[in-house]
Structure formats: structure tokens, C-alpha cells
Amino acid sequence: MEYVILLISTVLINNIVLAKFLGICPFLGVSKSSSTALGMGVAVIFVMTISTVFTWLVYTYLLLPLDLSYLQTVTYILVIAFLVQVVEIVMKKVSPELYQALGVYLPLITTNCTILGVAILVVQNDFNLLKSVVFAIGNSVGFTLAIVIFSSIREQMDMAEGMPAWMKGTPAALITAGILAMAFMGFAGLV
């Protein structure tokens, strides 16, 4: 039950993009069409789950016993960059179709701050391994949900007429995101 609540709270209530402001760059950059948004979302779910497991293991069994926890940031970013490369190579060999669909998004993910952010949050919250995995899945599904909804709205907005020129593009997208964040605040009393 605890895990179900954690899942609901990370997907809806404390949505990583709309409430915690992580991963805004891909959220604004890769949301022009809903199919690319979905691709990015799936790639994030995949990488975040794997990288959270690995960073958790590295922290618990390497950094903590050696008393090196101040190296956390440096180690994590290297582990994540390394994992993204490995995932890319393995995916290319094992499933070329999946690679075709997600390949372009993978290199972008290294600098996606949701991945590093979740890895650090897991340590800050003292989660055990299973809880960390649930937390990572919840957050990445939340990211996917937000970016897919947002991109569908933007697709509709592009067809709208009569928007003043200075509002087009980024300003309109940001204000839409604001209204979307407001809608997500409605989930606040859910759990």
C-alpha cells in the first residue's frame, strides 16, 4: 500500500516537471509533436529506472563504506553518462527497432536533470532499493504524462489563429505549462 501511495504521489501530486521543476528543458524543447514527446518519455522511463538502481548500488556499496559521499555528484554524473552509452549500444544490438524509435533521445538524456535529480533525491530520502525503483518509475511516468499532455495542447495551439505575434512560441508554451501546473495542483488532496 505504501508503494501504491508513493507511486500516485510522484505521478500526480508532486509531478516532477510541473511541481518540482526538473526536466524543463526537454519539456519545452521536445514537446512540439506528441509522438516525439512520447518517445522521449519512454526513453526517460527506461534510463531513469536503470540509472537509479545503479546509482543506489554505487552509493550504498561503494561511496558509503569508503566514506566518500562528498564525491556523490561527480560519481553520479559519470555513472549516468556511462549507462546512457551502454544502453545505446545494447539497444542497437538487441532491438534495432526500439533503437530506431528512441535512439535520438538517448544522448539528450545525460543532461536531463530529472535523472540526476531523482538519483540524489533517493539518497536524501533514505529509500531502500525497492522503494527507489518505485520512486524512479513514478517520477518518470509523471514526466511522460506531463510532456504528452503538454505536446498535445501545443499541437492544437499551433493551429489556432489570432494569437498576437509576440506571444507565439515560447511565451505561449510557458503560460500553457503554468495553467497545466495549476490543473495538477487539483490532485493535492488525493492521498
Binding site: I77, I120, G178, M185
Partner: protein, 199 residues
């Protein structure tokens, strides 16, 4: 090494023409995440400024030693080292601010501004010019954060740097998440409008 910019132009480009936040839209996560008050915005801005200047300096000094193929990973490690320095310093000397900014301090590593300047500027120009570039970009980032933080604090809690301007309550929504998106959206819209008028 071509050098076409004067020092003054080099410093000012980061603040106005190539402002990283308002014009190039880089580093959006801390921009939105920590600007619920003006003092948080300044703290985050200065932390990033320090990392930018130091990493630009270090990278421009070692740029000839690093093989081209492992350029990006090396830059990231250098940046991460300086971020750890900031993190430890802030934890020791400004624990209250550190607690407020929380997760966003380690996340300076993945702030696109820092890596962007390393790749676009520090890896090509001399150490002196790179420091000025880092200073200009850092100041531009800090000023943009301060603007956003001030607007949000004044509208959201009717105070500025913690000083109450009025006893009544502000519009809470500007302190919360939606207000961040909406305020930044309007600031960029106004800048677009001004640019159109000029040309």
C-alpha cells in the same frame, strides 16, 4: 585564436544580447525552481556565477591537454568538481540558504549554461577572455533570476527580500509552481514585444 570582441563587449553580451536565460532559454530548471523569492534567486545566481567563472578558467587552461574525443566527459568532471566545492562551502557557511535551494545546487552540473559556455567559449579562447565570458554569463543569469524572483515575491507575498510591503496577503499562486511558468512566459513575451518595436 581569433579575438574579435573587446573585453567590454565580451562582458556585456552575456547580460543583454545573449542573456542565457531570457534570450537563449538555457538553464530553465533552476530559473523556475528557485525563484519563489528574490534572496533565493540571488543565492542561486551567485553559486552558478562562481561555477561558471571557475570552470571556464580551468577548462581554458587545460584545453590543449585534453584529447578532442573525451572533451565533453572531461568538461563535465571539471564542472562537477567545482559544483562539489560550492556545495560544501554553502553547506558550511550558509546552511539556511543551502536548505532552501536544496537539490538545485548539485544540479548546477547539468545546467546547460555551464557546459554550453565551456564548449562554445572556454575551449576556444584564452583564460582571461573565458573568465570575463563566465562573469558576463553568470551576471546575466543572476539578473534574470533576480527579475523573476522579485516579480514573484512582490506579487505572491507582497514583500521584497523578506521585507513586507503591505500587511495584506499576496496572490499565492505566484509563489507556487504555476506562477513561475506564467511569470517567465510574460517576461519573455514583453521582451519579444520590445524587440519587435525596435526593429
Amino acid at each position: 585564436m581569433e579575438k574579435t570582441l573587446t573585453t567590454r563587449e565580451n562582458l556585456l553580451k552575456g547580460i543583454f544580447r545573449e542573456n542565457p536565460t531570457l534570450v537563449l532559454l538555457l538553464g530553465c530548471c533552476p530559473t523556475l525552481g528557485v525563484t519563489s523569492s528574490a534572496s533565493n534567486a540571488i543565492g542561486m545566481g551567485l553559486a552558478t556565477l562562481f561555477v561558471l567563472v571557475m570552470s571556464n578558467l580551468a577548462i581554458s587552461l587545460v584545453k590543449n591537454v585534453i584529447p578532442d574525443k573525451v572533451r565533453i566527459p572531461s568538461f563535465i568532471v571539471i564542472i562537477a568538481a567545482f559544483v562539489t566545492v560550492v556545495q560544501l562551502l554553502m553547506e558550511a557557511y550558509t546552511p539556511a540558504l543551502f536548505a532552501q535551494l536544496g537539490l538545485f545546487i548539485p544540479l548546477i552540473v547539468v545546467n546547460c549554461i555551464v557546459l554550453g559556455r565551456a564548449e562554445a567559449f572556454a575551449s576556444r579562447y584564452s583564460a582571461g577572455a573565458s573568465v570575463i565570458d563566465g562573469l558576463g554569463m553568470g551576471l546575466g543569469f543572476t539578473l534574470a533570476l533576480l527579475l523573476l524572483g522579485s516579480v514573484r515575491e512582490v506579487l505572491g507575498s507582497l514583500s521584497w527580500f523578506g521585507m513586507k510591503l503591505s500587511d495584506s496577503d499576496g496572490m499565492l499562486v505566484f509563489v507556487l509552481a504555476p506562477g513561475a511558468f506564467i511569470t517567465l512566459g510574460f517576461i519573455i513575451a514583453i521582451m519579444n514585444g520590445l524587440k519587435k518595436q525596435k526593429s
